[in-house]
């Protein structure tokens, strides 16, 4: 199944959105049903273990670019997430792994797969940011293959669910961006001399790929 769309984020810049979307913690908090999202090695992921570990780590979303830069998504790295999706009467919890395939400002793409009892999916997705008059447009696309119990319900159920998830995700990103903008301004004094008007040092820019 193919999905795509565009989402308008207001009063922000491409750099800010890029920064926000680079932060696994912010993504975790914005993605409906996402219990944790952390970097993992190749090989089998023990989700029970990771869930416990993630609970201990207790990472908070932040507007501090320094912190974000430390944990930002990196091309070629693999991440694991536990995501619950409600489709009709079933609420499978998907053990999901995603690899960042490419990350070149202002575009990124990722692919992965998720497994739940009796259902699974495969996903490749991407997005591109574009400056507009009022802010930023995020153009996104996703191509998924869905299997098992969930797929059996057909597009009747899956399309609305996918649209709902994406809409909520970007709404939350918008909310976070408003907070993030403030914090970025506040953090300006803490960053290097060569910081530009967005308050981001070249070191951080290098790290998050802007």
């Amino acid at each position: 199944m193919e999905f795509d769309g565009a989402f308008e984020l207001e009063n922000t810049t491409v750099e800010e959105v890029w920064l926000a979307l680079s932060d696994p913690v912010l993504i975790r908090d914005s993605l409906p049903g996402c219990e944790f999202l952390i970097e993992v090695d190749d090989g089998d992921v023990d989700f029970e273990e990771q869930k416990a570990a993630a609970a201990e780590r207790d990472a908070e979303p932040t507007g501090d670019p320094e912190v974000i830069a430390q944990r930002a998504f990196e091309e070629g790295k693999r991440y694991a997430a536990l995501i619950e999706v409600s489709v009709g009467s079933v609420n499978p919890q998907f053990q999901t792994t995603v690899t960042i395939d490419s990350r070149e400002f202002p575009e990124m793409s990722a692919s992965g797969e998720g497994e739940a009892s009796g259902s699974s999916f495969e996903l490749s997705s991407g997005m591109e940011l574009e400056e507009t008059e009022n802010g930023v447009t995020v153009e996104w696309w996703a191509s998924t293959e869905v299997f098992g119990r969930i797929a059996q319900m057909g597009q009747r159920m899956i399309n609305p669910v996918a649209n709902r998830v994406v809409k909520r995700f970007f709404e939350r990103i918008q909310e976070r961006l408003e907070e993030l903008t403030l914090q970025t301004d506040g953090a300006e004094s803490m960053v290097d001399e060569e910081s530009d008007s967005q308050g981001l040092s070249q070191r951080i820019r290098d790290k998050i790929g802007i």
Binding site: G118, S120, E145, G148, Q152, G154, Q155
Partner: protein, 813 residues
């Protein structure tokens, strides 16, 4: 007008045959007393649930059952490995072989690879129903997903993902040893043909007119209202396995399951309790029923398995799934001179029990329809696809054939600028040409097609209707009239022929008629009704033959311990074959009774007349004995003729000479709204010739239900798999089983051309409606859309498809 039923008490034996007696099955079914398989209770009962592959095609790299096994209340968790370790053969057999047929192994649990979504991977047995399903979620299967193929035609293309690895399949020695194996396309199950290819090509070369059509006969899901179920109990003391299951043919299931489980046939006792519909889906031997028995044997506990509706969608054998190119040749007068058909038939992931016979001998052999066609050639390529196995579903091959024939004939009439009824009439096999041998290897023993067409034309007031159609078109309203002059071949026979064609079973039926000393009767038949009213109709037959009151006769079906042998109920065979077996046994009973009566009445057998249950000495009516009196004497055996054994019961194994060939004409009248694509029925008229009717009300019910199922195919139903082999129509919400508002009122009428070769003159009726109605509807819709120049739309004719066809969208499919 609907036929009025008659109460059984009001019936005399003289008129019992042919009367619309109320069904004797009904009292227990309308009160909830009837026992279906899931109604069977036992305090010791454990429940089985099946973990099914979520992928259409995947390697299974490992299965971890430890968590499920550790759950409280879970009694056992089993995989293919356990079946192997127990030494159980566990491989489902194919009941019909074709030349060069590939018969890949079909294990009752998938071991290394799952080949369709729903393929069983593991089973759980637990103390309680819900718990068994909970435990399925705790089994961890390590799948490696593979590419899938779901289209029957794409499956035989060279680059298609291959389902079965022939060269490594040790059970498939035929294929392994065949040096030509490389030349066979991947997934090709068989390449079969019938008819004279050269003569047909010649007919097309010489044709003045030809028409052709590409059509799909879409995959259907049977949807009997009762999902499949089994309750099995093992008796360690005797080694017997008692099975109650949703079966259309308990004896056949016993025979097959005996091999699958390696349990001697005489130790397997299979009972079909009340069965909530079948439509073919309960003929076949599936893995689940055998697994239930296997678990019961392992655990020495009674085990119940009840499929959920989702499981029936995924695993009940589906029907149809043909992709066809068909052509018709005509001379310049509109006389049909040839027909050429190529069909790709999807078999699904494995060969189901009778799968190979359906798109071949039950399809290709009916392509002559009601028409005198000098040359026909048909090539069918069967292919394995990543879907549920496809097998007999109400009609089984014959609806597919008649859909091709009646679509072609409708297009032929259009090409010739002829009225479709007149075109049909011109090409009918004439009434004086029976028996008629067709170019596709069958001999129609009887037929008289024009009276049925005439009756149908009269029912719809055809001439006025065409005028009305023309008037409405002036108002931009689109009325369409669709014909289906169909034939069917049912009661597949005789056994010898079936054997030559590849059947691994005989096609006779057994009937035992036992007259008790008191004069009441119990009759046993190897068919196994599941809604058809056999207890009623068979009692009518026996009552008529023996002259014993209808109410004094009990009918027993569906129990392998009680009934001598049996082949079951499918293919519209029960009345023609099972009924004939009971009639034959009854006649044998009368013959023996006559011998005893002649002895007691001190007269010659030839001087005895038998009427309404009484033997009279010709010319001396005061010297008489009733059959009940004879029965009493037969068991007393104080004075029976020398050489005659005591008792009064007879068995026969009736093997018919031929199929029976019901036929008829159905006419659908619809209005199509091109703005919305909506189709509205104005009328549905059906004239069917099913030979003599034992109970006209039951015949009417079979016709109604059959038509509704065919309308379901024409307008609503269709199984859809995505490219990965995931079933997208896996629930009643996504697969439209027709509701009351979807089915029009049906007007039925009949002509009667008795079957010449069976003792009752009956033919089959169970599938007639389903064979007839799809093309009547499609022909009506395309007739309505003539002004838009639309010749064909593939079923189901959903509003969207019709709208797209009218509005010329390229996305229309």
């Amino acid at each position: 007008m609907s036929i009025e039923t008659i109460e059984a008490e009001e019936i005399d034996v003289e008129e019992v045959l042919g009367s619309a007696i109320e069904r004797r099955e009904d009292p227990e079914l309308v009160t909830g007393e009837g026992v279906y398989t899931d109604d069977v209770q036992d305090p010791e009962l454990a429940h089985m649930a099946v973990l099914r592959s979520q992928y259409g095609h995947a390697e299974i790299d490992g299965i971890d059952t430890s968590e499920a096994e550790a759950m409280d209340g879970v009694i056992g968790v089993y995989t293919a490995e356990d079946i192997d370790e127990a030494g159980t053969p566990g491989d489902l057999p194919v009941g019909w072989l074709l030349p060069d047929l590939k018969t890949p192994s079909h294990p009752i649990l998938a071991g290394d690879r799952a080949r369709y979504q729903g393929d069983g991977v593991a089973v759980v047995v637990a103390e309680e129903r819900y718990l068994a399903h909970d435990a399925l979620d705790r089994i961890d299967v390590d799948y490696e997903r593979l590419d899938a193929v779901v289209d029957p035609k794409a499956a035989v293309e060279a680059d298609a993902p291959q389902l079965h690895d022939w060269s490594e399949d040790p059970t498939d020695t035929d294929v392994r040893d065949d040096e030509d194996i490389e030349r066979v396309p991947p997934n090709q199950a068989f390449d079969w043909e019938i008819g004279d290819s050269e003569a047909t090509d010649e007919a097309f070369e010489n044709a003045a007119h030809t028409v052709e059509v590409d059509l799909e006969n879409q995959r259907l899901i049977p949807n009997a209202m009762e999902p499949r179920a089994t309750v099995a109990e093992y008796k360690p003391g005797t080694g017997e396995v008692e099975v109650q299951m949703t079966s259309q043919n308990p004896h056949l299931h016993r025979q097959l399951m005996s091999a699958v489980l390696d349990v001697p046939e005489h130790k397997l006792h299979i009972v079909a309790p009340e069965v909530g519909g079948g439509f073919g889906s309960k003929i076949h031997h599936y893995p689940d029923e055998a697994l239930t028995c296997w678990c019961a044997m392992q655990l020495e506990r009674p085990v119940k398995w009840q499929a959920t509706r989702s499981e029936t969608y995924l695993t009940d054998a589906h029907g149809r799934d043909h992709v066809t190119h068909a052509e018709l040749a005509m001379d310049d007068a509109g006389t049909i001179t040839g027909m050429r058909v190529t069909t790709y038939a999807g078999m699904g992931a494995y060969l189901s029990t009778f799968a190979p016979s359906i798109p071949t001998y039950l399809y290709g052999t009916l392509l002559s329809g009601q028409y005198d066609i000098p040359a026909i050639h048909c090539n069918v390529i069967g292919s394995f696809t990543n879907g549920a196995p496809v097998d007999a579903y109400r009609g089984a091959g014959r609806p597919e054939a008649l859909y091709v024939v009646e679509r072609l004939v409708t297009l032929g009439a259009r090409e010739m600028g002829m009225d479709p009824a007149a075109f049909r009439r011109q090409n009918f096999i004439p009434e004086d040409d029976f028996p008629h041998e067709t170019p596709v290897a069958v001999v129609y023993d009887s037929g008289d097609y024009e009276p049925a067409l005439d009756a149908a034309l009269e029912m719809v007031e055809y001439e006025e209707l065409r005028e009305r159609q023309a008037e409405l078109r002036e108002e931009d309203r689109y009325l369409g009239i669709g014909f289906s002059s169909y034939i069917e071949a049912c009661g597949l026979a005789p056994s010898e022929l079936a054997g030559q064609l590849g059947a691994q079973a005989g096609l006779w039926e057994s009937g035992l008629v036992r007259v008790h000393p008191s004069g009441t009767v119990t009759a046993f038949c190897g068919t196994s009704g599941h809604g058809q009213g056999h207890e009623t109709t068979y009692a009518q037959i026996v009552s008529d033959e023996l002259g014993v009151p209808y109410e004094d006769i009990e009918i027993v079906e569906g129990d392998t311990d009680e009934i001598p042998q049996g082949m079951g109920t499918y293919g519209s065979r029960s009345a023609a074959v099972g009924g004939s077996a009971l009639a034959t046994s009854s006649q044998k009973v009368v013959d023996k009774a006559r011998t005893i009566a002649a002895h007691l009445l001190e007269t010659g057998e030839e001087d005895l007349e038998f009427e309404n249950g009484e033997f009279n000495v010709a010319g001396a009516p005061e010297r008489s004995m009733t059959i009940q009196e004879v029965a009493q004497q037969a068991y007393l055996a104080h004075n029976i003729p020398e050489g005659v054994e005591p008792g009064l019961e007879e068995t026969s194994f009736y093997d018919p000479e031929n199929f029976t060939f019901p036929f008829g004409t159905h006419v659908a009248v619809v209005e199509v709204d091109p703005e919305s694509g909506e189709i509205e029925f104005h009328q549905y008229a059906a004239v069917d010739d099913v030979g003599n009717q034992i109970n006209p009300k039951i015949v009417e019910g079979q016709i109604h239900g059959g038509i509704a199922q065919g309308i379901g195919q024409a307008l609503y139903e269709g199984a859809v798999y995505d490219d990965n082999g995931t079933l997208l129509t896996g629930s009643m919400q996504d697969y439209a089983v027709p509701k009351a508002e979807h089915v029009p009122n049906m007007e039925t009428d009949a002509t009667v051309t008795p079957a010449p070769h069976n003792p009752l003159g009956v033919k089959g009726v169970g599938e007639a409606g389903t064979i007839a109605s799809p093309q009547a509807v499609v022909n009506a819709v395309t007739d309505a859309l003539q002004p838009f120049d639309i010749d064909h739309i593939d079923m189901p004719l959903t509003e969207e498809k019709v709208w797209r066809a009218v509005n010329g969208s390229e996305e229309g499919s």
